[in-house]
Structures are given as structure tokens and as C-alpha cells.
Point group: D2
Chain length 350, copies 4
Amino acid sequence: MNVGIYGASGYVGGELLRLLLQHPQVTVTAAISVTYAGEYVHRLNPNLRGQTDIIFEKPNIGNITEKCDLLFTATPHGVSSTLISQIYETGIKIIDLSADFRLKNSDDYPSWYGWAHKSPELLQKAVYGLPELHRQEIRNADLIACPGCMAAGAILALAPIVRSGKIEKDRIIVDVKVGSSGAGAKPSRSSHHSEHYSTVRPYKPVGHRHTAEIEQELGLLIDDEISISMSAHAVNIVRGILTTCHTFTTDVVKISDLWRLYRGFYKDEPFIRLVRDRKGIFRYPDPKVVAGTNYCDVGFEIDDRVKRVVLLSAIDNLMKGAAGTAVQDMNILMGYDEQEGLRSLGLHPV
Amino acid sequence: MNVGIYGASGYVGGELLRLLLQHPQVTVTAAISVTYAGEYVHRLNPNLRGQTDIIFEKPNIGNITEKCDLLFTATPHGVSSTLISQIYETGIKIIDLSADFRLKNSDDYPSWYGWAHKSPELLQKAVYGLPELHRQEIRNADLIACPGCMAAGAILALAPIVRSGKIEKDRIIVDVKVGSSGAGAKPSRSSHHSEHYSTVRPYKPVGHRHTAEIEQELGLLIDDEISISMSAHAVNIVRGILTTCHTFTTDVVKISDLWRLYRGFYKDEPFIRLVRDRKGIFRYPDPKVVAGTNYCDVGFEIDDRVKRVVLLSAIDNLMKGAAGTAVQDMNILMGYDEQEGLRSLGLHPV
Amino acid sequence: MNVGIYGASGYVGGELLRLLLQHPQVTVTAAISVTYAGEYVHRLNPNLRGQTDIIFEKPNIGNITEKCDLLFTATPHGVSSTLISQIYETGIKIIDLSADFRLKNSDDYPSWYGWAHKSPELLQKAVYGLPELHRQEIRNADLIACPGCMAAGAILALAPIVRSGKIEKDRIIVDVKVGSSGAGAKPSRSSHHSEHYSTVRPYKPVGHRHTAEIEQELGLLIDDEISISMSAHAVNIVRGILTTCHTFTTDVVKISDLWRLYRGFYKDEPFIRLVRDRKGIFRYPDPKVVAGTNYCDVGFEIDDRVKRVVLLSAIDNLMKGAAGTAVQDMNILMGYDEQEGLRSLGLHPV
Amino acid sequence: MNVGIYGASGYVGGELLRLLLQHPQVTVTAAISVTYAGEYVHRLNPNLRGQTDIIFEKPNIGNITEKCDLLFTATPHGVSSTLISQIYETGIKIIDLSADFRLKNSDDYPSWYGWAHKSPELLQKAVYGLPELHRQEIRNADLIACPGCMAAGAILALAPIVRSGKIEKDRIIVDVKVGSSGAGAKPSRSSHHSEHYSTVRPYKPVGHRHTAEIEQELGLLIDDEISISMSAHAVNIVRGILTTCHTFTTDVVKISDLWRLYRGFYKDEPFIRLVRDRKGIFRYPDPKVVAGTNYCDVGFEIDDRVKRVVLLSAIDNLMKGAAGTAVQDMNILMGYDEQEGLRSLGLHPV
């Protein structure tokens, strides 16, 4: 199958290139970048040196629909919606990695993103591309909205316990620690190495936009409203998100209950690993362990004394948090083996 | 004044040496280390090269009381209580940096530390050495129990809002991110560079011992029970703790209220800075900024939508979280200028 | 084929496990560890969680020869020679990752390693397992001595120019920067995160043992003596070695000469990439780019003014510097595709 | 004394602010920044929060000469020469931290910097501000040219042995490892955290401009030409330079000779420490140890086998490599205690 990447010169685009160039059923026929058109792909992605001669090209919509059966759009928020509304009618399959089609309620765009959605009719057609919750719909989708990286981590940590109904729905804290690649490839003062190294910076203690997706998806699980209290911190790593969710139980919950709940929910999921070990130094999820993989490691712990359950997840924000899930979605959509192109293991140590 | 340090070869001991060697009113007359007796101090503390010829010496209690007017004990938990019960009667002033005299209720030791306290009578005589809460008692103390590093960060972030009575007392989340020096100088698998670099490791999601101190001290502020939900994470820095406290209001709280509350509570405190900026990349506390200083930077934010208030603090765990507060306590106790020896600024960038 | 790993619980052993578990022609039938016998492999190698149920087992030589067609020995220097002399006669193929069979002249062991070699007769039978120099001999070897990590980086950077005869043979500086995993999995003060983070530590400015291998192998290329001036520095990364070789020309050398020389030498090598770009930020080799891969990136630059040629190489010390080359050797020895099991790309960014 | 800083918003400017705000004999009367005029100094320098209310101001030459007795210029290369030629005649003392007045021979500017010097007559009046070589001239200077950071590290490592005449003058390798702050405060792709973290990047293997200063200053010591072979690498730290100098002896040199040579050369120098320990993990200079201080730690080692002497130095590029030396120069010039404002120790661990 021929696929294109629109917005190929960002970090998510580069990660898509890495995955798709190694995917046996796929040929990358277009790597589109406004900024870097004419440049070799390996100039920005040194890991691909010797693997490909692809050159970034300028956007040309006629060209795309001709050259590609499926298009990944990794464009800035607000750009995707315009672009996709132009090409949706051509019947090309689209997997969008921006936020533009994640929220079902078009009113959420003004309140969370600050702009009115230009193609609200497409919102209902878009499928929220988290396979663990929407595999069946992904199979039949024309337009898939890949989850936000922090949303993916939080939803996967929380979904089983939320659905169980055993926690307070309005006291769910999502405390996120994220690496610098989450802020993208564009240099800025806050991402300058001298400023970012050794930092533990609470860059969005309240009001993070991914909150909206998390509330939407977890709410759907119980057909009720849920409220998420989210804070995001930048830490001194490049790839990875650790999500610590603090919840309070409405009933007695034991560790064995949690094992049963999480094992049941994720029993056939190829990319979820439950991590709660009694020995060693790797007792809980850690983004260091999943870097470069499509795994979401999920763990939990009970704090009886205060009726708290802590849910933990670790993902690579560029993989399970973006490009990895996008390729997983493509595999589902096309009927390929769901793990195709996503089998490489993490490194240790690293 | 002549001071000694018992347990001088650990990281807290080394930090005490750095501070005390530069303190104009103090002479270090004993640097006691069981393990490194006979070794030059600068072999373990390369920053002190050229500053001192002190050699670590073996413990000898008779010697200590002769050579020192004041003793800092930076010994492992459980060791201090035995040691201090032996020397307390000699009238030497003691500033203990272990956990052994922090808790007032001797029953808390078996439940949080796993051993029965051997000198419970001394617990009532000990003063919890957090100047911002107990300055007056510190002035007259014989035995000061320096706060745990994470306890210091959490208490200073929470004290004003807890005392205000405006938050739920049983839904207080303390999410801690701490650097590797918090685990001490002794090598182990978890602190091995190859294992710790790039980690975001939830090493104590529930049951952290500092919880007991935090509940005790915040409870005293309102003469009521309070329950703390604490989780500790190791991150890829050496010095520093960022504490993110998530709380839920029982009443309407505005940013101006928080400013008034925190400014009022900390108005004369030399080592508290309130950090909440509207511009730039340093809008909230960050341990990177306070490394090497005795500052506790405190910030806050309101999440109206879910009635949450987020309280943030950043400290250097070896300074405000240990040696810095210990020296501040000494200054108060001896009637010196409270900032003496603690004025050096942080670096930027670093 | 059934393979065993002796010394499987170290970092090199863990990397062999990762590679071999994914290798289609190989089954790992023994993961031997004295220290961790009885422990699940994934307890030490969290990246292998969910990939294998292998448990470390105690050494038992009879067992090994029964269960394995080929044995990788990743034991400490001095241990391998004793072990291998015991099993060599059983006809099992051996790929040794220690230094014990790298040097041809048994006199070099007392002078560089401080002990007399116990099986000097095997030294002549061992093949130095650097495919780029000894592919033909590796095909027919019974015992392969994998190069030292720093030796691999230095030899691959220098071999073409040394063989060209265009540089002074006694003014070759090899300035090495290596990550913490090069020091192994065993915790120590120097590898403690608090001590190693942010360091640039010249830990072996003179006398590094890999010097002997480098002189041996480069000398063989020109059938003459060569002298290497090597200094090794520890830097704040986990995986990777950057080697900067400073040499002085005896003749006029132009960049086009170097391109011709290096392209010619490495033209069919699957794991050598020449990196010298005129644009972008990835103009020269960088270990960050090759982490997790078996590539050795090689670059060069000319300093006309002082008749200097700088040769640069970047490898992952656990891959091309150890386990990767060992698997490449196995592929050659067994007649498999040389790249089998070694195709995964590096990550960017990381 | 009233001092101004022109170019106060860069990292060197920020470091000057930190030092000068704490200097008892100095008042900062102007912090000039074209880009950040109107902004609080602590917005860019969070370590100065609570220490000062200074606001960056626009440049105004009339103003400067009125408000300042001494001006530090920390402007980009090429800017300083124009600026200083305008204010030199006003008699204000100037300490320039750019490269514009470091080289004595105006022909060196076109060849190393690519532009012709506009005030060549001032080059002879400028004093190269390395106190260890030019203390006497600094005392009487009107215009001081602070050394480049890499030049300072290399010259201090090499000066004693070069002057001794015991090494080959044309085989001196200077292999530099430098932190990200050396590249300044302006964000760029190469300094982006995701790209710079974990890097060991040979960014200038040949042709680094500081070579010219090093050759000039070392040549002056022996009144002869000397040639330096320099390569610069970016490493994953913020502050600090480790310089490894590889030299070859023309005569027998023993360790005791080096001790005598270096002790003699630096015997009264307050900011040089000789570091060569036989035990522990801090045997040689390491930039981690001197971060935030004005120390240059110098060490050495002999490689008898190949007649090599390795000279090592570690500095903080913003301190001894820039602002620290500038303040030291000011102290000498003004007759203050040479260590005033420069006494703070490094941290350990950090």
C-alpha cells in the first residue's frame, strides 16, 4: 500500500517514517514538509541514514490523492482540519495525529483550543483511534483521530478502574511527567538544552487540553460525566511519559481485584503489559523501559489508609503516544497483523 | 562555636561540611565517619579540595562532647536515637537529620518505620526543626529534629492553604519528583547511572514514611486530623524535589485569595519565595532554580472547573530539605543572623 | 541452532539476550549467571518483559555442552580463559566477549592485564572477531574473541588511513568518550548516578588496556609496529562511544582522498556508514544516533594548517562494541545472513 | 564603583549579574539588552528572583559613560569592536568578553573570524585578560580582552609545560568537551534538548577560532611559534569544559618534574588547583566539580611508553571561562582583593 505523511519533518513525522520504512506491506510515496521541502529525510532523521533516499516534498493535494492510498497527517492543531476537509471526499483513508478530530462535541474546540471547528460535520465521522477502546470502529473508519500522547497514557491507566465504577468520578488526579520530544522539533527557549536539562518544570499545572479527550473517552465508558484534574510536568528525558493517576475508592478494593480488573480488560491487547513486581528495581511502569516501543506498561498500587488507588502508566510519547498507535490503527484498518512493524523491543540499559 | 558532624561522609554530611566551613561563627572540630575514618574530607567531597585539611575520624563519644558545643547527627534512621540518647544528657546541643525524633507519637515508629522507639521520652523534648512553623521553639531547643526532605517540600507548599480551612482534608495528593541524591551516597542497582539516567521511576507510589511527618505537622496547624496521599518518583536530576500538591476546595477560592494567604503566611520568611509569573519560562517553582540554595520556591494555580487548587514547591533536598535547614536551625538556636552561611545564590543556567 | 550465554546477567549478556531472542535461526537454551541463578531474565532486563520466560541458571559445564551448539561467554576478564580451556575440546563453538583471547602475544597479558595467560596455546587458535578485518577467518573459527568496545571504535576509525601509510605511526591519539554502561552492571561509587551525572571524567588518561588490541590489529594491517596514545573519558550518557583520532599526515591528503580511501575500505560493509555532511546538525558521527544499532558511523576532517587528519567513529558499546558484533560473528560463522537480527534502526530523537 | 553590563541578557551577562550583585565593592547601574529591554532581570535569570529589581535597559552610550565607571561588554563577536571604539575615548574602563580584542595581529581577524578589524589600533592597547599570564598588565589596563572559554582551559593546562620547552611544539592536541551553555542562550536546532541530550557531538573537529588565541598566548611564553591541533565536542552537560591536551616530550619527563613545574608556575594563583589523586573517584579534573566556581583544576599524567604527556583542565565556561575571569580582572584592575565575589564553592554531588 502507498502511504503519505503530511507534516513529515516533525518528530512524529520522523517516527512515522522510521516505522513505515520498515513495514513490509507499506511503501512511503510522499513525505510532505512545507519547511524542509527539497531536503533529504536523513538530514533531519540521522537514524535513517543509509535506509532511504526519500526527499521531503512540498504539499500538493492533487499529488497526494494520486500517490497515496492512505495519508497520515501530523500537522499542527488547526491545520489538519482545513487540510482534511479538502481531501476527505477523495476517499483516501486518513489517520490524523493532530487534535482536530479527537473531540466529538464541536463546542469543546472553542473552550479548549480557542477556535471554532471548521468542519464539525466530520467530527462524527472520525473515530478516536485508541485500539484498546475502539478497535471495531477503527476497522471501518475513513478518518481516524489518533489520541493525544498524554491522553493515551491517562486513558489506558484509568479505563479499567473507571469502568468498574469503584472510584469517585470527580477526584481523579492525572499527574503527568513528559520528556522534551513531546514539545516538538521546533527550538524555543523552554526546550533549549541549557534550560531544559535537569528541570522538573510544572509547565501546565491546570488547563491542559488533553483533559478534554480523557474526560470524553472515560465518560463514554460509563455513559456518565467524569472530571479529570490534570497537571503536566516537563522532565529531563527526551522520550516518554509517566502518568500517575490518583483515585479514591467508593468501595473496598484489593490488589487481587485490580489484577482481575486489569487482566480482564487488557487480556488480548498486544501492547499492554501489566507491571507490578515485588522484587527488583523495575516494580512499576517506567518510560525508560518502553522507549522506542509501542508498549503501554500499566501498574497499580493501593493506599488502604486513605482509600486511594494509584494507577500508573508509561509510554513512549512518539510511539504509543503518536506514531506507534497510528501504525497500529493502520494495521487494524487494513487488516494487517496488528503488531506488524511494531515489534522492536526496548533497550536496557539506555 | 565548635561543631561536630556525626555521619559526615554521606551526602548530607558533605553538604553540612560545605556550609559550616564557610560559616563565620563556626569551627568544624569533628567530622565523624565510621566507614571513611582516616580519609581526607576532600576525597569524598571534591568541591572542598583546597578548602580544608579535615580528616574523617572514628566515633568517640567522650571526644565529641569535649570537642563540640553542638552536634549534627546525619546517621541512618534508627542509629540516631541510640546515639542521641547517649549524649543528650551531656548538655550538648543536637540537631538530628534522621527521622528518629520527628514524630511525636512513639506509636508511629512501629507503624511507619518498623521498629519501636528506644527513647520515647525524648520525643517530647525534640523540636520539629522547620523554622517556618516552629521558629520560637527552635530558639530554646536542646534537640532539634530536622524535617525529612519530602516533608519539608510538602509542608511548605500546603501549610497556608491547610490552615485556611478552605480545602478538603482527606483529598490531599502529594506527588513528589526527587533527584538521585535523595537516596544517599551508597551505590545500589537502582542508583546506578545506567539504570537511573532517563528514568521516571515511581519508587514509592504509596506508603512513603514522610507521610507521617506531613500529617503530623499539618494536623497541628488546624488541631485536627488530616490525611495525605503521597507518591514519590525518582527523576533524572541529582539535587532537588518538585512537589505537586493537588487539593480540592470546600469554598470559592480565587488567585488573589491565594496570593494574600501565602504572602501573609510567609511574609517575613527569608527562604520562601512565591513564584507565579505570567510570562517567560520560569512561571512556577522548579528545583533546577534552587539547587545549592536554601530557598523553597512556592507557587499555586487554580483549576476552577474541578474546584482544584494545585500547590507547588521546589527545594534542594540537601539544602532546604536537610543541611540548609539544619544550619538555619543552628543560626536561630544560637542567635546568629538566620541567613548566615546560607546566602549563596543558585546558578543559571545549570 | 541452540545457543547459550555464560555471564548472561551483565549488560552485555542482557544485550545478547535481546538480540538472540529475536533472531529467527536461534534458540536460547541457557542463560547462565552465578549471581542471579533462579531469577527471571526480565527482572534484570525489563525490556524483555513479556518476551520470554527464561530463568537464569547456575553454571554446569556438562549441561552447557549438551544444550548448546554455540556459547557466548560474557564473563569477567581472567574468568573466560579458564572456562573456555575447559570446554574448547568439546567442539562447541565459542564467541568470547572478554579480553582473554584478543591478544596474540601471551606476553601482553602480564604487561597489560597483570596476569599470566593460562591457555596460551589457544591464543593462536582464537580469531579476533572484527568482521571488517577478519571476516574470512571468522567463517572458519572455533573460538572468536570479540573486540573490546573502545578497540572496535578506534580500529574502525583508523584502519583505512593506517593501511594507506599516509600518517605518522607514532603520533596517533585516540581520545575516547564513553557512556556509563561501558563500566558494566555492577554498582560502584564512580557509577552512582549522583556522581556520574553531568560528569566528564578522565578516568583512564593513559594505560587503557584496549590500547594493546588496537596496536596489534592496526600493526597487522601494515605489518609494522604502530603506537597508540589513548585516553578514555566517562561522559553523561548510558550507551555509546565517540572516538576522536588525531593523526598527522606524512604526505598531502585531501578530503577526496579520504572519501576514496574509506569508501574503498568499507564498500561492502553492512554496518559501516560514512558520515560527513555539509549541512544540518548531524555532520559527523555521534553515538546518540547509533544507540541500539550495530552501526559504526565513521567520519573524518582535515586540518591542513597543521597537517592533521581527524578520524571519528561512533558506536553503541553494547552493540558494535560487544553483543552486536558477537551476533554478526555468529551469523558469519554459521553462514546466516550477516545482518540477521541486527536490522533495527536507531531512534530519533532519543 | 558603578558598573554596567552591555549584553546583559545572554548567559555570560546573567553570570556577571549574579557575581556583581553579590560583590561588596560594586553597584550594577546598567544592565543593557537590545532584545529584552524593559524586562525584569529575574525573568531570564530565575536564580536572581528576590535579589534585585533591575530591569534590562536599551543601549544609550551617553548614558553608559555617565552611569558607569567600568563596562563589561558581553556582545556578539564583531559588535564589541564597533561599540568599544565609540566609548574607549571616554576613559571608561572596559572589560570585553567577546573575541574582538583578543588577537594582537589584526590579520588574524580575516583569517579566523572572516572580517577585517575596524579598530586595529586598539588591539595593541588591549590586554589579554588571563590573570595567570598577564596580571601585571591587567593592573594598568584600560581595555581588557577576556579569554575565550576554550582558550582559557587550554592555555592553563598547557602553559607550564610549553614554557618548559620539553614538548614538541607542533604535535599539541587539544581535545575539548564542552557543555551546552557554551553555545549561548539563543535556541537553535543543535541546542534543542531533544537533539542535545545524550549527544557527544564533534561540532568543530578542526578550525575552531579559539585556536588562534591559544597559539598566540603559548607562543608568547616561549617567544616562538607553536601550533595547536584543536577539536571541540558538545557533551550532555550545561556548564563546564574538560580539556584533554596530548603532547609529546622531547626529553625524559617524570611525574615529579610535572609536579614541580606546575606547582612552581601556579604557586600563588588563587584559582588554580592541581588535581592528581591516587585514590578515590576524583583523581583528575572534572568540570562537574568546578561548576559555579572560578577554579581551573589542572592535572597531568605521563604515558612513558609513547613519550606522551597528557595535560587536563576543567573549568566552568561561564566562570573561569568568561564572567569569573572578567570579575577577577576587575578585582586586579581596581586593586580589590582578587578573590572578592568569587569565593563560592562548588556543590557535591550535583
